[in-house]
């Protein structure tokens, strides 16, 4: 298992950096927020990402993928974090793509192909509680003659507004089943506005009738596949946070070098130097956790859970430290909306919470080690 990025991974990273800095800089994200766009991402940019092959990176060649693995994917998420680029990469490609790859039958493969090419996008409806608890499912599915009846409510559905369909987890028979629910008026969709101005939905299913073909995987037996997909999602989020935190930290170090008070650069104050150095230390530790988890996703996916929990835990902790220091070291200007710091702070806070914060992953890590 290598901690070093390959030639291919670096190439992907360079392309992502070049593309995003030109086409999706932070100012574009700010404009999306201010214009109150419904999708909360730019559909053109999304199409271009798909044309660059970003949807295909982790999938095998026979599925139409590139088979580059997760290190390359991590590099792309890191670049998206750096530029605060919003896109359905996480929701559609990583989460739903992984579920389809693990569970789809021959007919359902068409969804996967369409997701890889970007022709369609799906969103994963798993959370029901204020905090992430994927195993506490109140949504129910009942088997009827020619299909299923789905009832319940899902929340924090990432990119859940206006997708082509949702993959929904439900309590069914003896366990957790997953269903592909194509977009329809019969699903009540409420848009949630969060501090990071991205696309989130609350979904209500009131005795929704689904055909037999909607079932993804075996009845009552999909929780393991769901956990695996969630782990990949957590990993991509950790990579994204790493990119955002590095950007935030670099902005702060630059500021220490230019801002003057008391006739000197504030970076000359040892009180600030040591704290900046501490941030650097923590970022390096965080980087190792992310890189290792990305390698594990490639080389020994059966060990993914603990290494992902370590990464998401570490990143969430470092996020508190660095976003706090970034604001504090900027002084008054740090709390103004005009600076991008606030946009990073808000996005990072949501990413911290999505699919388990540091407490969730500490408890999970402890359980996995027991």
């Amino acid at each position: 298992m290598s901690m070093v990025y390959s030639e291919d991974d670096r190439m992907l990273a360079d392309t992502a950096e070049e593309f995003l800095s030109a086409r999706s800089p932070v100012s574009a994200q700010r404009a999306l927020r201010d214009n109150g766009a419904i999708l909360n991402y730019d559909a053109d940019i999304w199409q271009q990402m798909m044309e660059l092959g970003w949807g295909a990176i982790t999938f095998s060649e026979e599925l139409g993928g590139l088979d580059f693995g997760y290190k390359g994917m991590g590099a792309i998420f890191e670049a998206m974090g750096k530029h605060l680029a919003a896109s359905p990469m996480l929701s559609s490609v990583t989460l739903c793509g992984s579920l389809l790859q693990q569970l789809a039958n021959t007919e359902q493969q068409a969804w996967l192909t369409a997701i890889i090419s970007g022709e369609k996008r799906l969103a994963l409806a798993v959370d029901e509680h204020a905090r992430h608890k994927p195993d506490a499912i109140n949504t129910t599915a009942t088997t009827v003659n020619d299909g299923f009846i789905l009832s319940g409510k899902k929340t924090m559905v990432i990119d859940g507004v206006s997708p082509d369909g949702w993959i929904v987890s439900a309590q069914h028979e003896v366990g957790c089943s997953l269903f592909i629910v194509p977009f329809s008026d019969q699903v009540k969709v409420k848009r949630l506005k969060l501090i990071d101005s991205r696309n989130y939905a609350e979904l209500t299913f009131s005795d929704l009738k689904l055909p037999a073909a909607a079932l993804l995987g075996k009845a009552g037996d999909s929780f393991k596949a769901l956990e695996h997909a969630l782990d990949l999602g957590r990993l991509c989020l950790s990579s994204e946070m790493l990119g955002s935190l590095k950007a935030l930290f670099n902005m702060t170090v630059e500021y220490l070098k230019v801002r003057e008070q008391f006739g000197v650069k504030i970076g000359t104050f040892q009180a600030l130097q040591h704290r900046a150095a501490r941030c650097f230390v923590e970022l390096e530790l965080a980087q190792s956790c992310v890189t290792t988890a990305l390698s594990t996703a490639n080389d020994s996916p059966e060990n993914l859970a603990a290494s992902v929990s370590l990464a998401k835990w570490k990143l969430s902790k470092v996020a508190d430290l660095i976003s706090g220091e970034a604001v504090q070291m900027h002084g008054g200007i740090g709390v103004t909306d005009e600076l991008d710091i606030g946009l990073y702070l808000k996005r990072i806070r949501v990413a911290q919470m999505c699919f388990g914060d540091s407490d969730f992953h500490q408890a999970r890590f402890s359980a996995l080690m027991a």
Binding site: E260, Q261, F262, G324, G331, G332, T336, M353, D357
Partner: protein, 399 residues
Amino acid sequence: MSDLDGFRQEVRTWLEANCPMSLRTPTPDGELIWGGSDVNFTFDDQKLWFDRMRDKNWFCPSWSTQYGGGGLTAQENGILESEMRRLKCRPPQINLGIWMLGPVLLQHANEQQKQQFLTPMTRGEVRWCQGFSEPNAGSDLASIRTSAVDQGDHYLVNGSKIWTSYGDKSDWMYALVRTDATAPKHQGISLLLLDMHSQGVQAKPIDLISGKSSFCEVFFDNVVVPKENLIGELNGGWKLAKELLQHERSAMSKFGEFQLPTHFDLMSLMSDYLPLPHSASEALLFDKAVAVNMEEQAYNLTVQRLGEEMQAGQSCFGLMSIMKLVHTEQEKIKFELLLDAMGYRALGWEDDNFTEQEQAINRAWLNSFSQTIAGGSSEVQLNVIAKRVLQLPENKGVS
């Protein structure tokens, strides 16, 4: 029964009779009353409470009756505050002038200035803002450049201020201005009171990460200010500024005691959002909450000790210098934890799918980042402790 017990009884009876029930609850965002020429009441009880407290002379309970204060002793004032806390009375009004400028005027203004400026404060008629910081003078406040030039019978003020809270809503500003450009930086500063409605004053709001605000950049273009508005000695403003900042910091350290919109009860909110039984991760959150609560307890005890030592006439400079630092740092930690506990429910933004309280908590979290910067950053507080309290040697080259 001692006199003080009698006084307590009197206060209690009066508050119970006069504080409307609707105002014995935490103040929701947007229902704070700011005294000034344009007071905005959202419902009748607020006006009733405002008027009654004003007529009782309890906007400034400990100030001399000569200027419309309540004439209470420090001990009596302490009793009034504790009874208001006990009944959960909302503050009848908030006014930076009373908290920060008032004590400095009481000490250093001449009689005519006291009559002119203190009386409207005790009536809740004038809203004040603080014009200290400038773009290049934040932590290094003594580097301010806004100038006030002597024109015989008035000063002509030019320059700009930044981060002026409520600059666009205030009637008057207390400003630090440079009155001697040639003297060493601390020796050419004066404290000047300036009518915000004067010709040549322009306040431009700056949006904050917590949303739209009244946090302003203020520009002065040949603003005429009467010479009578200079407080204390010409070029003696730095000493007054330091005193004023002490009052600001002690006011900020007290925010937690009032029923302000930023006050949330961590434990009860955690129990609301995380009902029993607790998962392993929820148990971790509760462990942290206990620690936060215990730290807060240590702080509250310190508040109490400070109060008692001050009433006993002891010198408390060292103790006072830690209060704002501790309180604002604790608030940041508390809100981080509250956000963790509430999950996505605390991350809503201007969306009716979230309760008002949930949205207020999010804004309060974002606002908590400002509090360790405003009124002198935590670093500056630590420098004050290191230099002035511990008298550690100076680093040459940094003034």
